[in-house]
């Protein structure tokens, strides 16, 4: 196992397209880091630079302290799981898993033992004689995983490995991947556009946009203390509520109002998580009408429209006490409002 560090990584594509713009990132030895962001944000390009499938324009990639920036993929000791699994269709599952061993001329007996071991670990021991076309999506995923871990690489790379699975299998595989990571203690870099995957699986999440890392940290830190409006908006489902207004130094004034000690008087955006909106009588509170109530069982989502026109979502425990068309008062829970500067979206408080 080995740590991965990227320093000042830049990748420009032909035609002046900037894929990665000066990214510095470290994945500790045995850590699980997720790169998350909208499509085209450069997360996959970073992954491919680490794998050696792309050459960076400048910057450095180090794996286990060794500079691998200009090494071919085969000399980097990394394994990658692709979105479409990239299983060789003409080979059986066993041959697929054993492929990395075969090309490295591992002794057949040893190779067979390790293939079996990897297959057992991923519970596909019974499928070894099948061709990929005869497997379900989840089984292919496991075969691809087995192929990645059969040669015990220093670093695992995942390129949206769950996005081709249906929702149920995806949730199950998510948990299994976390268990696998704990079991192998391997270093993993995981690329996804799905913030739920990033939040639930990774120890550390790097949110990317426009080729840059906006913020990196443990999932809950990102959720609670986003450094910018973009991160706040990207993390969390349903998305954070935003309302434009002004800060007075101690308070935010707008369609919603709350205490905000930011020490500056400026145009600002208030962002409030759905669970931090408190619904109550319309006394001394912003008024909103209930547009829709979505009961989810343990909680309900209440979609609201403020008098000033902004749409909000509130998350309330259990069953909501209001109904569609009701007039309710909306307050921000004390200390839960996040203020960002209007314009660049930088955090105020």
């Amino acid at each position: 196992m080995a740590a991965l560090s990227l320093s000042r990584l830049v990748k420009h594509f032909a035609g002046g397209v900037i894929g990665v713009d000066d990214v510095t990132l470290t994945v500790g030895d045995g850590a699980f880091t997720a790169l998350v962001g909208p499509s085209g944000c450069g997360k996959t390009t970073i992954l491919r630079c680490v794998a050696g499938l792309e050459e960076p324009t400048s910057g450095e990639v180090r794996i286990g302290g060794r500079d691998v920036t200009w090494l071919p993929p085969r000399d980097r000791d990394v394994a990658m799981v692709f979105q479409n699994y990239a299983l060789y269709p003409h080979l059986t599952v066993a041959e697929n898993i054993g492929f990395p061993l075969k090309v490295r001329k591992t002794a057949p007996v040893e190779a067979a033992r390790r293939v079996r071991q990897a297959a057992e670990l991923l519970e596909i021991g019974a499928l070894l004689d099948r061709k990929p076309a005869q497997l379900s999506g989840g089984q292919r995923q496991r075969a691809a995983l087995a192929r990645a871990l059969v040669r015990e690489p220093a670093l695992f790379l995942f390129d949206e490995p769950l996005s081709n699975l249906d929702a149920q299998v995806r949730a199950q595989t998510r948990a299994e991947l976390v268990a696998l990571h704990r079991r192998l203690g391997a270093t993993m870099l995981y690329v996804t556009h799905d913030q739920v995957e990033a939040m639930t699986m990774a120890q550390s999440v790097a949110v990317m946009a426009g080729g840059r890392v906006l913020q990196e940290g443990p999932p809950m830190a990102l959720y609670r203390e986003p450094a910018s409006l973009a991160v706040a908006r990207f993390i969390g489902s349903p998305s954070i509520n935003t309302v434009a207004g002004r800060t007075t130094g101690t308070r935010f004034e707008g369609a919603l109002a709350c205490d905000a000690r930011v020490g500056a008087c400026t145009a600002a955006v208030l962002a409030v998580r759905p669970e931090h909106l408190v619904l109550g009588p319309a006394i001394d509170a912003s008024r909103a009408s209930v547009v829709l109530v979505e009961p989810l069982g343990p909680e309900s989502l209440v979609r609201l429209r403020l008098r000033s026109g902004e749409d909000l979502v509130a998350r309330v425990p259990g069953e909501a006490s209001c109904r569609m068309g009701d007039e309710v008062g909306v307050r921000v829970a004390p200390g839960a409002g996040l203020c960002f500067r209007a314009g660049d979206g930088a955090r105020l408080a």
Partner: protein, 509 residues
């Protein structure tokens, strides 16, 4: 079974019964008109040059109204005891009518000839009635069997009677053997078989239609859709029947007959033409040449794959290069052949000029039996390279990039990536190119026709050219047809092989 189906079934049985009666009636009245006219006419022709028939042979009766007619069609004369079929007999100069040949048909004989098969047909019908669940289906089947039997037996009895007449006439001066062959030649049997096949087909269609109707009862949409689908298929089906199936059937027919453009008599000879081919060293030579010539296919494939791998790079201007490599395939084969004829010319050719510049001896590429076939293979390879390259290129581009990236990450070097991933994944493409290439190589005609005409000393004589020459230069259409059948079987075997390999491929994951 619904009332509607019962009505359909009853209707079909009624039609069957009516048809049976009609067929029986026609048989009694001389249904076998076609067989009769053909045979009697042929008999009359064969007898040209005989001395006048001295007397009617035994078994023939002359009626009051019998007259010799000048037109060459047989005449049916009705007498007191039955029908008499007559045909005029002319002299050797085809000038004078010198006699007539006739066959008597007697009620009793005819009735016997018809009654037996009719009884058999009814028995068969009764059996089918029990065996097949739909009444209408069995009715149609019985109708088919019965009618076929009647047709066949009636036709056969005519053949037998004509043979008797021929035998009786023979001593009068005709060629007994040829008469015998004529009388025994079995267009009557062929007719019976044809009738049987046709009627069986009709019966199958009828049964199918009734069953289908029973299946789709009350589902008009399904009926409309099915009819619509058949309607859409019909034009290409007709096209296929007229331009593919019919010519193939005709070819098969020619190959087993003595078939001359000028002669009107084209007797059945069985496999005689095939035996002739087997004994013909030039045929075997052409076959061997074809096999050697086909070797250019795998060689070109290797070159095409190499070119495809080179041209699969994302370089500027690579598309122009691809077009250039593809160009020879688009060019007219005749033009290509002429240009290459010049390139390979002994005295003025570019190739020999180059050899001469290097102080090497000149080679008469197309005039030397040892080099002519390899030279043609070279030209074919040059012409096919672009096509094969494009197919390989398409195959390469259909392989997901992630597979090769996975292989790179798995540690495979360039050769391993080719050997373990690209080559196996291109296997369906390679099989396709190899088999279609070989099939096309056996069709290669233009190059041989323009450049060497099969020479020198049959060195480039391939099967298709041999077929062409046999048919149009030697006027042996029947032998050429037999050769075509052999070629066709060869290519069919290859195609079957191709289908099997394509079917054996796993679906892409």
């Amino acid at each position: 079974m619904t009332a509607a189906h019962r009505r359909v079934a009853v209707l079909l049985v009624a039609v069957w019964a009516a048809a049976s009666v009609g067929v029986a009636w026609r048989a009694l009245r001389g249904l076998d008109r076609s067989a009769r006219s053909h045979e009697a006419l042929a008999l009359a022709r064969t007898l040209r040059g005989t001395t006048p028939v001295p007397a009617w042979p035994a078994g023939l009766t002359s009626g009051d109204s019998m007259a010799v007619r000048t037109e060459e069609t047989p005449l049916v004369v009705r007498g007191r005891s039955g029908e008499l079929i007559t045909a005029p007999v002319k002299d050797a100069d085809d000038w004078d009518i010198v006699g007539a040949v006739g066959v008597a048909a007697r009620w009793r004989e005819r009735a016997a000839a018809v009654a037996l098969p009719l009884a058999a047909a009814f028995a068969l019908g009764a059996m089918l009635l029990v065996a097949v669940p739909t009444v209408a289906g069995s009715g149609a089947a019985a109708l088919a069997a019965g009618a076929a039997a009647i047709l066949g037996s009636a036709a056969l009895t005519t053949g037998v009677r004509l043979r008797a007449a021929a035998e009786a006439l023979a001593p009068a001066g005709g060629d007994a053997a040829s008469l015998d062959r004529l009388a025994l030649r079995e267009p009557s049997l062929a007719l019976a078989t044809l009738a049987l096949v046709l009627l069986a087909a009709c019966a199958a269609v009828a049964i199918g239609a009734v069953r289908w109707h029973a299946d789709t009862a009350g589902r008009p949409v399904r009926v409309r859709e099915t009819l619509g689908a058949w309607g859409f298929i019909a034009p290409s089906l007709v096209h296929l029947a007229v331009f593919t199936i019919a010519p193939v059937a005709f070819l098969l027919w020619i190959s087993v007959h003595d078939w001359d453009l000028l002669a009107s008599d084209r007797p059945f000879v069985g496999l005689a033409h095939f035996r002739e081919l087997g004994a013909d060293p030039l045929f075997w030579r052409a076959l061997r040449n074809g096999l050697v010539y086909a070797l250019y296919v795998p060689v070109t494939m290797v070159a095409a794959l190499a070119a495809a791998l080179l041209l699969d790079q994302p370089l500027r201007g690579i598309k122009v290069l691809r077009v250039v490599v593809f160009l020879p395939y688009v060019a007219s084969t005749v033009a290509v052949a002429l240009v290459w004829q010049w390139l390979l010319h002994r005295d003025f050719g570019l190739l020999n000029a180059a050899l001469a510049a290097m102080h090497l001896p000149r080679v008469d590429w197309l005039g030397n039996p040892a080099t002519a076939l390899p030279a043609l293979m070279l030209v074919s390879a040059w012409g096919q390279l672009g096509y094969m390259m494009v197919v390989y290129l398409a195959g390469l581009q259909a392989i997901p990039a992630s597979l090769l990236e996975a292989a790179r990450l798995d540690g495979a070097d360039a050769w391993q990536r080719f050997r373990l991933v690209l080559w196996p994944m291109l296997r369906p493409v390679s099989t396709y190119l190899l088999l279609t290439g070989i099939i096309w190589s056996f069709h290669g005609f233009t190059l041989v026709y323009v450049m060497t005409e099969g020479g020198p000393a049959h060195a480039t004589d391939v099967l298709v050219y041999r077929i062409y020459q046999t048919a149009w230069e030697f006027r042996r259409f029947d032998v050429a047809a037999a050769m075509s059948v052999v070629l066709c079987l060869l290519l069919l075997a290859l195609t079957a092989l191709q289908w099997r390999t394509v079917k054996g491929e796993p679906a892409d994951a």
